[in-house]
Every structure is written in C-alpha cells, then in structure tokens.
C-alpha cells in the first residue's frame, strides 16, 4: 500500500449531502469481481448529466473531493472506495462520513477528512471561485491548508501511523497471534459453529 503523508492538489466541490454508496458506485456494476478498473463507474449516473460538477473541464485531474455531510452512507460495498481511488482521488473531505465507509476508506489508502460544515462551505466557495486552488492535506500535522487559511482535523493515531508507514492491518494483527490463541482457549465451548447438523 502506498504511504500517505502530505498531499497537495486541486479539488472538486461536490455540493451534495447524503452521497450514499449507491451513488458513488451504482449497484448494477457490483457484479464484477476485480478490485480495480472502476474509474468509469464512479458516480456513473451523475456523470451522465453534462452539467455535473466532475464533468467540468476546470475540475479535471483533481484528486481531492469536497462533499456535503453524510458522505458514504448506505451499503458496505468497498467498491465505493476502490472507484474513488481508481478515478484518482486520494482524499475525501466531508463534515461527516458513513461509519462503514470511514472504516473502509483508509484500508487501502484513501484519506477521509472530517471538517466542520462551515469550513467545507468555505472550501467550496474557494474552489468554485478559483478551480486551480491547490489544497494541502497534511496527515503528518493533521492539518488542511489552502491559500489564506489552515485548519486542524482529527484522525486516530493508530490508523494515521499505519497510513504514514503504508502498512495494511492484517500484518499488524498477525503479530498478536498468541493473544488470539489465548482468547480462543477461554471462549465458551457452547458457542455455535457453522458445521451442518443433520
């Protein structure tokens, strides 16, 4: 996994709230079985509308998405994260994320950054007025900055450490095999198994 430290780029202002994972990755594409190749699927229904913000020439090539509140609600499909990454996004900024999406995003290096609604409004206005504005998302210092202002954001230490080092968390857990074995030895033996009876 590619490490995430500091990222500076243009941004797309997506002035919509409740962007659920069915919009990010329409279900009809969910019958695919690979992890990559989803760049065209991202927001497929909305991108079919010519005036959709991501279709505007001035926002091409941007890798930071600035969205309204409750981004990534709904289905647990990790396809949503993969599609955002395949398209080229490395950061999504929103006042609030769906829980499962927020957990899924950093698994392979997409950074979900939570900022207050008023800051998001300010970033939208900034990027709409000057689409070439470069925004810096600094995970080392946990800070988002743009010309004229800088704001801190919260991000848990554990995931941050993993992203800065570019590590996946299965390897991290595998170090605790003896703890897992110890837990299994004290689990209640009456708990069910899925082995078929009859």
């Amino acid at each position: 996994m590619e490490a995430f430290t500091v990222h500076t780029d243009k941004a797309v202002p997506l002035r919509r709230s409740d962007v659920d994972t069915d919009q990010i990755f329409p279900g009809r594409f969910g019958t695919r079985t690979s992890r990559t190749g989803y760049a065209d699927v991202l927001f497929a229904n909305w991108r079919a509308e010519p005036d959709f913000v991501m279709n505007k020439p001035e926002h091409q090539g941007a890798s930071i998405l600035i969205a309204g509140a409750d981004f990534g609600t709904g289905s647990s499909r990790e396809f949503a994260v993969w599609a955002l990454q395949d398209y080229g996004f490395r950061v999504v900024i929103s006042p609030r994320f769906g829980d499962i999406f927020q957990g899924n995003a950093p698994k392979r290096g997409l950074l979900p950054v939570t900022l207050d609604e008023e800051i998001v409004e300010r970033l939208w206005a900034l990027v709409e007025a000057a689409p070439d504005t470069r925004i810096t998302v600094d995970l080392v210092r946990r800070r988002v900055s743009a010309p004229g202002f800088a704001v801190p954001f919260e991000f848990d230490d554990h995931t941050r450490g993993r992203l800065l080092a570019g590590l996946d968390d299965i390897s991290a857990t595998e170090r605790y095999l003896s703890d897992i074995e110890a837990y299994e030895s004290r689990r209640r033996p009456s708990l069910p198994t899925t082995v078929r009876h009859g």
Binding site: D22, T31, T33, S34, S76, V81, N104, E184, R187, S190
Partner: protein, 477 residues
C-alpha cells in the same frame, strides 16, 4: 469501555458487556482487537477478499465460524434457470469455489437452508445472545435483535476476519432508543423505524450502537425486532440491538444450531445475564411515542425523507436549513413529485415485498392478510420474494402461496431481488415502486427508478389500490 477513576467498571450497557467479553487485546492508543464469533459471507463483496488471501499465501483461520450464502445476485423467478446459467454468474461461481477451497459451509440456491444471509442466520439459530457477528453487508445489524453486537464490514475487513477471526475496532458510543406506549392496529415495526429515522436523520446514529427498548419493543416479535435493528444502519448506526428476553428464547429454542437439553438450560442462564445494568450511561438518548404513530412512507431519496401516509409531499419551504432544502429539491425532482400532492394520490407501477428488512414469515402473512380475497391492480407488477427457502416452504404450507396466486401474484424464490436490483429483478427508468426494502436511494431499484419505502401491509394494500394505500383504505373484499 468505561472505568471509574479507581479502575472499577461502571454500570455497563449490554453493548459494552459484549464488547468487553470479546477483547482479545487492548493497548493504549490502539483500537481494541475484538474476537468475532460468527462471520457471514455473500457472493458480492467477497471475491476480492479471497483473491488477496491467496496472493498473500494466507488461509482461513476458523472456517467452522464462517458461513456463506448467495443471495444478492441469485435469480428469484419461478421458472428457475438451469445450474449452468446460474454458474455463468461469476460471483456465484466464486463464492461456491472459494467456500469449497477453504472448507466453509455454503448454502447454495436450491438448498433447503438457502436464503438472504440475514434471514438464514437467525433461522438456523446461529445468532445467539452475547455474540459478535460480522458480514460484508450493512444490514448485518439485523442480528442485533438477538442481543448480539452485529455490524457490517467492508471487503478488506472480510479478509482480516478470514485470516485472524478478529477485527480492530474503535469504541462505539451508546444510544438508548425507547419506544413508549403501544402501536395502534395497522402500525408495524417498519413504521416505528421509519419514524425514528425521520426524527433523528440519516446521520443521527453515526458512531453509536442503538439499544432499542421500551414497551413497544418488549411487545414486538423477533421478526419485528429484526426489522427495526435491520434499519438501525439507515440512521447511520454501526449496530442496533435488543436485550434478549422470553420472546428471544422462545424463538431460539429447538433451532438447528442451538444447544438442547441440559446445555440449553446452561445457555439460558447465561443469556438471562445479558442486560444493560441499571444506571448504565448512554451517550445519547431518544424517545419516540409509539402510540402516536401511523403508517409511514418515504417520499424522497434517503430513508429520513418520509411522512405519515396520511400527509402530503412536502415542499422545499417546509425545511429551514440549507442542507435539507437542497436535498429536498433534488429528491423531489428525482422522484417526480409535486409538493402538496397527497401521498395517497401517488400511483405506483410496481410493488416489492421481501428483503432482509421484510422478507420473513410474518411479513408474508401480513401481505397475504391484505391480499386474501382481493386482486392486485392490473397495471401493477407485484413481486413477493421470501427471504429464505424456509420462509417460502412455510408460506406454501400455510396456504399463503394460494392466497397470492388468487390475487394474481407469484410467490418467487428467495433472494435479495429488487431490494438492491443486482439480479434481473429491477425497475425501468422513471418507474415507481412501493417497496418493503430499506433504501430509497437514487437508482437503488434500477437506474432512474423511484422507490417509496413502506411496510408489508401498506405494500400489499398499494398493490390492490394501484396507489399508495393502507389496508384500512381498501373497500370490502
């Protein structure tokens, strides 16, 4: 978990207790590593997890705590396709092959235990109080009805659980959701949860596990509690649960994976301890007066955009904050609805009765009770899709299939069907459905499709009336 300054555990919620009992490893500044008692798999969100596993040379740690099914993309038509046709659907081939390769029990289409993952888990008795349960599906919250901590996970986490049978989890906050009073006739668990989401919004539960309680929940069947917990995720919650009680124990008794005899007595004694302590502190508390509720129906494109069936389509001016106004404007346009239209005047093209929200036997009975002696309107396509092979078999045994057929409606085979439209059961652009599913998102039931989320009783009445209706609106049979 919460400790006093002296390191003594404070009064705990049920969710806290289940969490505490599953901690494999705890370290300052790191998420808790939790043990997972049951890992459920379906065909859509798992192929990449198995591929990554193989690439890394890893294996499945506890196939005996893992169960697979195929539900999202399976056909539900009564003229059942040949096995060859089924296996051409590559996700179905992959879940079968992957399960066989790693020794995981899998119930394929055609097996008498096949069905939607959140319907068969409880049916088989695999969701037992106090357990941790995960699945690559947001509606895993359904299993919380049994007093379990059950949540949806992404594909990377599936791989993590397959390899380690654990998950690193950041702590959840506790929310108490109390439904007081009693439900009027015709008001169902679906209406309760729709009204709750309307009250607190799609983000109202973010970061929380909801504990449902109060007289309405106490009096609810397990099927009803599953409907409520199922949609806890639509308010943004990570999980929803109900403390186990006599209703829970009666449901579990004699299920295939539940202990019997002396072992049953021992389990029962343990399960009875699984309650929130008196004085347990909740981060957030919500109360809803169940007696005041009437049937609810969504008008927009998220599950919080809803009104009582007797109300009208709102206008943008009914909302004060910018975010809600923007969302309402967009939803009204997508849904093709004029503000001020009575919800009962909204005609539909299709009705869908099924899903992990409302595909259980009680839901089939509720629909059949309305359809008995009546006909579905000519212009309405009605899909009745049981949640499992067992639900279907019981519906046939109880004579419900005959009721449906007499109403001009087919009882299909089990699957997720038009809830998520990943198989061929879907709407055409612009078509409108009354649906017992959980999400009215844009395009959820087919590209450009318009969804009104309703209860099974309202769905069945709508099938007869051809427009949104409750059973009380229908004339004599």
């Amino acid at each position: 978990m919460i400790f006093t300054a002296q390191g003594v555990p404070m009064a705990l919620t049920l969710a806290d207790k289940i969490w505490r009992d599953h901690v494999v490893r705890q370290a300052v500044g790191e998420p808790d590593l939790l043990y997972i008692d049951l890992h459920l798999l379906h065909e859509v969100n798992t192929p990449v997890a198995f591929d990554s596993l193989r690439e890394a040379g890893r294996s499945v740690r506890r196939p005996d705590l893992t169960l697979a099914t195929e539900d999202h993309a399976t056909p539900t038509s009564t003229d059942r396709p040949s096995l060859d046709e089924v296996l051409r659907r590559s996700q179905m081939r992959l879940i079968r092959d992957n399960s066989a390769e790693f020794g995981i029990q899998m119930y394929p289409l055609g097996d008498d235990r096949h069905g939607i993952v959140h319907v068969i888990g409880p049916e088989l008795g695999l969701a037992q109080p106090g357990m941790t349960i995960v699945c690559c599906d947001s509606h895993t919250t359904t299993h919380g009805a049994f007093g379990t901590l059950a949540f949806g996970i992404g594909t990377s986490q599936v791989e993590h659980v397959l390899v380690t049978q654990t998950l690193p989890m950041t702590p959840m906050r506790n929310m108490s959701v109390t439904i007081t009073g009693s439900l009027a006739p015709g008001v169902t668990p679906k209406d309760v949860v729709l009204a709750l989401i309307n009250k607190i919004g799609t983000g109202g539960g973010v970061g929380h596990v909801m504990e449902f309680r109060g007289s309405v929940i106490d009096g609810m069947s397990m099927e009803g509690r599953m409907t409520v917990c199922n949609m806890a995720v639509e308010a943004g919650s990570r999980a929803g649960l109900v403390a186990p009680d006599e209703t829970t124990f009666a449901y579990l008794k004699d299920r295939p994976h539940v202990p019997a005899g002396k072992d049953w007595d021992a389990e029962l004694a343990y399960w009875r301890t699984l309650r929130s302590d008196p004085g347990a502190v909740y981060d957030t508390s919500v109360t809803l007066d169940g007696s005041a509720l009437t049937p609810f129906v969504t008008w927009g494109t998220n599950p919080a955009q809803s009104v009582p069936l007797g109300d009208r389509v709102p206008s943008v001016d009914d909302f004060t904050d910018d975010r809600s106004r923007r969302a309402a404007a967009r939803a009204l346009e997508y849904m093709g609805l004029a503000p001020g239209t009575a919800m009962r005047d909204v005609p539909v093209d299709a009705v869908f009765i099924g899903s992990c929200t409302n595909g259980r036997i009680e839901d089939m009975r509720a629909a059949a009770d309305v359809l008995r002696g009546r006909k579905a309107a000519d212009h309405v396509d009605v899909l009745v899709v049981p949640g499992s092979a067992a639900v279907r078999a019981q519906a046939v045994e109880e004579g419900l299939e005959e009721v449906f057929n007499a109403a001009g409606v087919e009882l299909r085979y089990a699957g997720c069907s038009m809830c998520c439209a990943l198989n061929e059961d879907r709407l055409l652009p612009g078509q409108r459905a009354a649906s017992t599913n959980n999400r009215n998102f844009e395009g959820r039931q087919g590209r450009g499709a318009r969804t009104h989320v309703v209860s099974p009783a309202v769905a069945a009445a709508t099938a007869v009336a051809g427009r949104l209706a409750s059973p009380a609106d229908l004339g004599a049979r």
